[in-house]
């Protein structure tokens, strides 16, 4: 049982203001050029922080796995000179929803699998994380993916209550952040209000998957050749928005950039998308997922079968970002339920016939 404290409304801005004074803080804020659009970005004023926000378009994984990052710089001298490039400064990532916390732990595990990748954990080690609870919209389905109540990967977790936030202190780093703050012991009344918030959250979830993760994996394994993949693919544009907005996608590309002077440059790592036609293309023009339905199917299998079988949980947090972002209105919950229901319907007919 973690320590539970209460941070009253009037102390919240002071608390985050002090964090900002101590070092860089990234959190949900309005995009300067686009009022009303909330995204994760660096904060210079605690008043800009929006802790009560709906799911962002781009998930906070970008704090640790940027869309584009430099791996090393090179100079075309003789001999060639290669210099590793890494950000080293500590920072604090605040306002992370439970689904996105769950995603951080998934990427911890995926990148740590031997042979382990080192950029992700090094960036994770630079940051303290503060989570915050939220209310769902019609795309959210985190109760189906076991991430509705995630406290993974965070040092403090805030739940809105009447007099401010109930603060769960989950690590020594979290305790340290609160050392000069105006927090007090939580009462049973505070705890009951936080519990009521969580009940309301789960109750407000309108979207859900019609199968458990294990049932879904088994159904997908039996539905590799369903016509449904082609039906979905007939609508898909292969734009990759689903991958770009996904908090658990971790594929990447590696490319070089020359400086204008052509005397040096850098090797870059950048987000990639398995939905793009060239993702599985090899030299000589062979493409192992040339057809759009193969790529669409691959995404479902990776989330709900391959990584589920490897790590014991689906690599989907129920955040609904892919459905919100889809340019063809392909909804992950609707499609998944269609697969589940067709498979069950066929099984019923098979039993009867």
């Amino acid at each position: 049982m973690p320590t539970e404290l209460v941070m009253p409304h009037e102390a919240v801005e002071r608390f985050f203001g002090r964090l900002i004074d101590e070092g860089p803080v990234m959190g949900p804020r309005e995009r300067v050029s686009q009022p009303g659009f909330i995204h994760f970005d660096w904060l210079s004023d605690a008043a800009d922080l929006r802790l009560n926000y709906q799911t962002t378009t781009i998930p906070p994984k970008k704090a640790f796995f940027p869309p584009r990052e430099v791996l090393f710089e090179f100079e075309l001298t003789d001999p060639l000179k290669i210099t590793a490039v890494r950000e080293a400064e500590s920072f604090t990532l605040v306002g992370v929803h439970p689904c996105d916390l769950a995603a951080l732990r998934m990427l911890d595990d995926a990148y740590a699998r031997e042979p382990a990748e080192a950029c992700w954990p090094a960036n994770r080690a630079r940051a303290r994380v503060i989570g915050v609870d939220c209310m769902p919209d019609e795309y959210c389905f985190c109760t189906s993916t076991d991430s509705c109540y995630s406290r993974a990967a965070c040092d403090l977790f805030l739940t809105p209550i009447e007099r401010g936030y109930l603060v769960e202190v989950l690590t020594p780093a979290g305790e340290d952040m609160l050392r000069v703050s105006d927090v007090s012991e939580a009462t049973d009344e505070d705890r009951e209000q936080a519990e009521a918030f969580r009940r309301e959250k789960a109750g407000a979830m309108t979207a859900r998957l019609d199968a458990t993760p294990e049932e879904l994996a088994e159904i997908l394994e039996s539905e590799e050749h369903t016509e449904l993949w082609k039906e979905i693919a007939s609508r898909c544009y292969s734009c990759g928005s689903c991958n770009t907005t996904c908090p658990t996608c971790f594929c990447f590309d590696i490319n070089d950039e020359f400086d204008l002077g052509l005397t040096g440059g850098r090797r870059m790592r950048s987000w990639d998308s398995c939905q793009l036609a060239e993702f599985a293309l090899v030299a000589g023009g062979h493409n192992f997922r040339r057809l759009r339905w193969q790529r669409v199917r691959h995404r479902w299998y990776r989330k709900f079968v391959y990584l589920y079988r490897t790590f014991g949980r689906p690599y989907c947090t129920g955040c609904g970002r892919c459905s919100r972002a889809c340019t063809a209105d392909i909804n992950i919950v609707d499609v998944t339920n269609e697969i589940i229901n067709r498979a069950r319907e066929r099984d019923r007919q098979g039993v009867q016939g």
Binding site: A110, P121, K230, C274, A280
Partner: protein, 294 residues
């Protein structure tokens, strides 16, 4: 739990992505499209690869690409890579001169299980540039000849001018203890050997299926037909080894580019037993002409 005090130095973090330098010590134009590079690690340390493994070769500014070793690990002072001119990087690699440096990292992946193949007959089936990784295995067996039973080499090329490693091929042909079968699809006036795709000579090869391991590398379309031929010869599916090509970006099972159903070719392969590929629908390119636009 994350240790907030333990951020390692930058060069340790990017170590995996960072190439070591290797010097070009020899270069041969094998065909119009193919160049053979002989390289030596600048550190003087051996890469210690197994036949069938690959490495990532890079030229700063041009990028990085995976290429299979084509020299035997018994050749200890240097290693060789066969580079096909297909893009910016490979064209730049074609322009290298002895003394130039390239970046290398690796070796990666599971190569041919040479320890399991000890004492067995080995049937090599090479199509086109598939001969490159198999040359590593063949020359390894040549240097460890007593460790293996019969060595049978079936090599098919599109036409005589696209045959690779002609000197090696002649040396294999001249050995009494190698059985060689060479064919081309499109013969010219110089060609006196067999004509037809690689399954044509393969059909005539007689083997003891229980004693034989087959090592097969070629274009994706070849695998299905070679597998049928080998199963016709009563070979066990577990004794048929296929090496698959994918566009590895990282080599550590993370970037996702080489995923074959639930497998990562860079980690679980690139050499697979046929048993591992049965039922995995992405093992070979799907040929579906009616679904081009799917």
């Amino acid at each position: 739990m994350i240790d907030h005090d333990a951020v390692p130095p930058a060069e340790d973090i990017t170590r995996f992505y960072q190439p070591e330098l290797a010097r070009v010590i020899g270069k041969w134009q094998m065909t119009e499209m193919m160049v053979l590079l002989r390289l030596q690690p600048a550190s003087g340390e051996r890469l210690d690869h197994a036949p069938g493994q690959f490495l990532q070769i890079s030229l700063p500014g041009y990028g990085e690409a995976p290429i299979s070793f084509c020299s035997s690990p018994t050749q200890t002072d240097s290693f060789e890579l066969c580079v096909q001119s297909v893009g910016n990087l490979s064209e730049a690699l074609h322009d290298l001169r002895p003394g130039d440096f390239v970046g290398v990292r690796g070796p990666y992946g599971h190569g041919f299980p040479v320890e399991d193949m000890r004492g067995r007959d080995v049937l090599i089936v090479a199509g086109g540039i598939g001969i490159a990784p198999l040359r590593s295995l063949i020359n390894y067996m040549a240097d460890r000849r007593r460790d293996f039973g019969r060595v049978i080499i079936v090599y098919g090329a599109r036409n005589p001018s696209e045959r690779l490693f002609v000197e090696d091929v002649e040396a294999w042909d001249a050995r009494d203890d190698f059985e060689t079968w060479f064919t081309v699809d499109e013969p010219d006036e110089t060609w006196t050997g067999m004509t037809g795709v690689v399954t044509v000579p393969l059909r005539e090869v007689e083997i003891d299926p229980a004693r034989t391991t087959a090592a097969v590398v070629g274009p994706p379309v070849m695998y299905r037909y070679v597998a049928m031929e080998l199963l016709n010869k009563q070979m066990a599916e577990d004794d048929i080894l296929f090496s698959l090509e994918r566009r590895f970006k990282c080599g550590m099972g993370k970037c996702g580019h080489c995923q074959l159903n639930d497998l990562y070719v860079c980690q679980d392969g690139p050499v697979f037993r046929y048993t591992q590929l049965i039922g995995r629908t992405e093992a070979i390119e799907v040929w579906a002409p009616d679904e081009q636009k799917g």
